[in-house]
């Protein structure tokens, strides 16, 4: 057993804090019937729950990728243990084969040979130019290279059967729980007739689809590069998995930055009005009229200079990339709080004239208490709707920013950097299409799920949507 050292990146801390906050919020919701009933409506929404299932899978990948450590290097006994410079995560450990089995350069999905011709020495024939065999992809086939389709199909089928059995087990447990204390089989029937308060049918169907795709995919990925490899021979599936965390951090941590600012300033402006309101409105109008991309570019470049001139701050490259990621979140947060702030200001202006607020004022309740007890809870639905809606926008923004080179650190895998790298490949003949397609598909699924979930949340929380 090798020793290891736990590495806590700043973004890890933030993401786990977010998880804790999420759990706390969940407890709060369970204790507050009006909120609970709104979330029950979300739970009854089929599309919402299907997308939530997909999102949950993404979150799981992101969380696994947020537990970092460094492996101890083998040293002479008695010496102080040295740790590897490479920071790994639990996800890395789980998918070690994907991470380590690198080819030389591009290869197509399910290929057994490289995508570029090379000069190789063939004993007896001298040097020839040909597509060399991959080091790992399809290695087990040895000479039977033409049987890829049959082999992959068979493996996929076996995996699919296994996935189905696994799904049946899960579905069985769920129907057992749903029909608890009733005749056996009632749970199952209730689920499929849509008679449950929670949209179990949608969750189970989504889960089935996900298992049927994911299990064969991972099974096959042990033998092939299912999504191909990139320029330096890295498995694209691995890059996709790593990109998920980056996307989630951008989408979630940014809101952490912007939320306090938007909520505080919005409420204060709406509640106190007068000069406070004027100042806050002035700030966000000015901020809104500066082109966002320029502001972000300037801030990111400045941050990069700071990072470059202080190498002593970072013991690993991962820490450096992490700081830049947080800086990006921060600057995205600064540029994106204005929309929510404006919404909250307007709503507060309306709320403060409501009679229950005035009733509290006649009791002499202090302004802060009124804000916390009466205004904030009645703004929560707007905040929740805005957060969920913003998430997908931020994920997309990261991709765009990384694409123009002012996003995350180039060494950090993200949908944006993947697309950026794929840009060069698109110019090649024959074209290298798989990196871009895979990144695009993964991001599409993530954003679509987030948007559908956002719709479900809005329907449940927005009184006007009814």
């Amino acid at each position: 057993m090798m020793g290891f050292q736990i590495v806590l990146l700043w973004s890890d801390i933030l993401i786990w804090l977010l998880v804790a906050a999420g759990v706390g919020l969940g407890v709060l919701i369970v204790r507050t019937p009006p909120l609970l009933s709104a979330w029950r409506n979300v739970g009854a929404n089929r599309v919402g729950m299907a997308s939530a299932t997909v999102l949950l899978a993404f979150v799981l990948i992101g969380l696994l990728d947020s537990l970092h450590y460094r492996v101890a290097l083998e040293g002479k006994p008695g010496q102080k243990t040295q740790y590897a410079v490479e920071v790994l995560s639990v996800l890395d450990a789980l998918v070690t084969p994907l991470r380590t089995r690198n080819e030389k350069t591009y290869s197509e999905p399910f290929a057994t040979r490289l995508y570029a011709k090379e000069t190789v020495d063939v004993p007896g024939q001298g040097t020839v130019r040909e597509y060399p065999r991959l080091k790992y992809g399809g290695k087990h086939l040895a000479e039977r290279e033409d049987e890829v389709a049959a082999d992959a199909g068979f493996t996929a089928f076996r995996a699919g059967v296994l996935a189905f059995l696994g799904w049946l087990a899960v579905a069985g447990i769920v129907s057992g729980v749903v029909g608890h204390g009733e005749a056996p089989g009632t749970g199952w029937r209730r689920i499929w007739r849509g008679e449950t308060a929670f949209a179990w049918d949608a969750v189970l169907v989504t889960l089935a689809l996900m298992l049927l795709v994911a299990v064969p995919l991972f099974w096959l990925s042990g033998q092939y590069h299912v999504f191909g490899t990139d320029k330096v021979g890295q498995d694209v599936l691995y890059q996709i998995l790593k990109s998920v965390r980056t996307g989630l951090i951008i989408g979630l941590v940014t809101t952490l930055v912007m939320l306090p600012m938007a909520v505080l300033l919005g409420i204060v402006a709406g509640y106190y009005r007068g000069w406070v309101d004027d100042v806050i409105q002035y700030i966000y109008t000015v901020l809104n009229s500066i082109p966002g991309v320029l502001l972000i570019a300037a801030a990111v470049l400045m941050m990069q200079v700071v990072i470059d001139t202080h190498p002593q701050w970072f013991s690993t490259a991962a820490e450096r990339a992490d700081l830049r990621l947080l800086a990006l979140c921060f600057i995205l947060g600064i540029t994106s709080w204005t929309g929510l702030c404006r919404l909250l200001r307007g709503e507060t202006l309306k709320l403060r004239e409501l009679e229950y607020i005035q009733a509290a004022q006649t009791f002499g309740v202090s302004s802060w208490r009124i804000i916390i007890r009466h205004i904030l809870p009645n703004l929560m639905h707007i905040v929740i709707i805005a957060l969920v809606m913003d998430f997908s926008g931020l994920v997309l923004a990261e991709a765009v920013l990384s694409y123009v080179g002012i996003g995350v650190d180039p060494t950090m895998t993200s949908f944006g950097t993947m697309i950026n790298n794929a840009r060069m490949e698109l110019g090649r003949e024959p074209v290298v299409w798989w990196s871009l397609t895979a990144a695009f598909a993964a991001m599409f699924i993530l954003v679509l799920a987030a948007n559908l979930f956002a719709d479900a949340v809005r329907d449940a929380f927005d009184p006007r949507a009814a």
């Binding site: 009733a359 509290a360 002499g364 009466h374």
Partner: protein, 660 residues
Amino acid sequence: MMLTVDRLRLGFAAGKRVLAAVDGISFSIAKGETFALLGESGCGKSVTAQGIMRLLPPAGRVLGGSVSMEGQSLLTLPEADMRAWRGGRMAMIFQEPATSLNPVLTVGQQIGEVLERHLGMTGAAATGRMVELLRQVGIADPERRLNEYPFQFSGGMKQRVMIAIALAGEPELLIADEPTTALDVTVQAQILDLLVRLQAERGMAILLITHDLGVVARMAHRIGVMYAGELVEVASREAFFSQPRHPYTQALFKALPDMSRRGQRLTTIPGQVPSLAAMPAGCRFAERCARVMPVCREQSPVWRDEQSHAVRCHWRDAGVDADAAGGGHEITDLSVSAGKEFLRVADLKVHFPIRKGLLQRTVGHVRAVDGLSLAILPGRTLALVGESGCGKTTVGKALLQLIPPTEGSVLLGGQPLVGLRGARLRSARRHMQMIFQDPFASLNPRLRVGEIIAEGMDALAVVGDARSRRETMAALLTQVGLPEEAIDRYPHEFSGGQRQRIAVARALAVQPSLLICDEPTSALDVSVQAQILNLLKKLQSELGVAYLFITHNFAVVEYLAHDIAVMYLGRIVERGRAEEVLRTPKHPYTQALLSAIPLPRLEGATAVIRLSGETPSPANPPSGCHFHPRCPHAMDVCRSRYPEPVDVTATQRVSCHLLP
């Protein structure tokens, strides 16, 4: 018969079910007749109107029955043909004049649309017709007004424009859905007169929907009472007002507050209209009926028809109202001797600055309250009456220092309140609390009833450990007639009347000596209003609280008030004891207000003083006596000088040049 509605059933799709909101109602209206549909909110009046017009909301469904007009069945007509009927042969006006006109079109364009569509009139002919229409509905200077936008009109004028639009297509049937509910009494009287006149001129049939018995008495020829989607009584005006037969109708009459019931408890109708999803199988009124018998719960009653007075009730002696209230004017409590003043307001002014332009310069002031003096005595009720926008609410808020007064003093037991801050203001506030108009907006939907009530106790540090606090809260809830379990429930689980009780409990929690009630019953139905009025009266006799009762409803004033102050444009024009002001009003405005109220009696439509126009803007009050542009007695001196208050009796004080 011009319009015949036969066993009409209308419902709403709710999930997979369709709930019947109107369940088999039949009535008919003759040419030139006004048929009034009367009933509490939510009993299906508006749905009926929408069904006849075929303007049901998307979830609405016609479940059965027929509607025919002049022999043509409307429900089977293709939509394209129906459009020619709508506006052309039948037209509708709505409750809220503010939202029923399109704000981006001029009034002329909106009337012109109807003229073109239904009469094919355009150009000069149309303009001439529009001017004529606007003149008919009493809008001065119609040529200029045609090119104005709705926001340039006041509420009453918008309603007139709505009527003009409705009349443009020369309909034979006019459906008016609560046409005057959002308007002041003086304006209401104008609009009702207008409708009566137009009906006489054109021989229109009117389907009038209302919950106001006074309006019914003024307008209707025949009346249908609706309850929970069914008609329960249909009668001519005379029969209806001389002898209401259905227990529900009788209860409605008895729930009406007025002078003759002072000192008595109003009859209330317990409970609520059953929800659409849980309609009882038998008589739908059974749960709330004072006459309920076992058969009522099993069998839906059938119509019994006696001399054009039809009733749906099992109760045989219908009409013999056994425990009819013993009349009698109990005016003893009017002569209660005046004690020491509790609250004195002198020369109170609240001016809101009007800001304009880039630099937000103050270009003028809205004089919402402009030199008002009042005194409130312990344990008594002072009613502050006046039309909307005259500054009543602002007075209430300025007394509580929710709005800082611009000038003047508020003395609470001799201690000045204006300018108090922090802890001293808080301790002074303990003596005064407010109950607001809208029970749906005055309770935070995210707090439990217990937390709502505790808020005042916490803020004003009314002491106690957790258990004694809970006991206090339970006692308060019992006092306002709510069960103790209410503590742990949320406001949305309660009806309007119950919510208003919670608001009362919240105010009482800090044991105030004065409750400022700002129209506490105007958002409630008559039967629920009676419950709240009874409660307020009971609390006054038990706890000796004083009320400042802000309202525009004279019936409530008559029932409850000891003293009355009449307000016009930020000033009090007449004040005195209730008896004096109501019986011998001296100020022309008070006289006009009193005579404009439609009384729910047969002899209700007496000669009335009609005021023209509406309350002017407080930003720019008329010179001299503010009332002179509308006053029937205005003299030259009125235009130049504001009248000094004159003491008519020891207690009655009037500001008018008519008085010596």
